[in-house]
């Protein structure tokens, strides 16, 4: 992606990532984690939020650090590293709130503009119907796979 992203730290298994959201006012540590599903060996859930001192991820915080676009770009950038290691995986995610799920839709729209050669994204409707991602669609969650 040609958008600015923050420098990432990655766990050796490429399932956890950390970066710092930096503004003139403060630095906020962010975490991204891909958590393997108990039910499906190829399904991982993407979790993202502020990393607290005790190691918890605060998925509800609104940091307002004036860098939302760069933060989201950095989060979606972790997908490329993740899929390098888990090419057959499906990544599922939803927002911690409805408004965040909609916010992620905007991020995915941008993400696909730059990476649709590499990834397939489907939206999950309220009724559990999967449809090819549409930037105007109303989704409760998303699934991403790497194109083979």
């Amino acid at each position: 992606m040609d958008k600015p992203i923050y420098q990432l730290q990655s766990s050796s298994d490429s399932l956890q990532f950390v970066f710092e959201s930096i503004s003139q006012e403060r630095i906020i540590r962010k975490a991204v984690a891909y958590i393997l599903s108990d039910d499906n060996p190829d399904l991982y859930q993407l979790i993202f939020g502020d990393l607290k001192e005790n190691g918890d991820i605060d998925i509800l915080s609104a940091s307002n650090n004036n860098d939302m676009k760069q933060v989201l770009t950095t989060v979606v950038d972790t997908l490329s590293t993740f899929f390098e290691h888990y090419p057959m995986a499906t990544v599922a995610f939803t927002g911690s709130t409805s408004s965040r799920t909609r916010l992620y839709r905007a991020a995915i729209t941008q993400f696909l503009k730059e990476t649709n050669l590499y990834y397939d994204v489907v939206g999950i409707t309220e009724n559990g119907i999967l449809e090819s991602f549409n930037s105007k669609g109303n989704y409760v969650g998303y699934l991403i796979t790497q194109k083979s």
Partner: protein, 46 residues
């Protein structure tokens, strides 16, 4: 043939501890699981 996109920059710093067992994370995982329960198609990639 696909070419790899721009390379991310990675720090060599040690990864901090991340607690993935917190109630907040569990709640989020359960929320996604409930969404996926409604999905009829298999999610495994062919």
């Amino acid at each position: 043939m696909k070419t790899k996109k721009a390379v991310s920059t990675y720090s060599e710093k040690t990864m901090p501890y991340i607690n993935l067992k917190s109630p907040e994370i569990k709640e989020q995982i359960d929320k996604m699981a409930n969404i996926l329960k409604k999905v009829q198609l298999p999610l495994t990639k062919k």
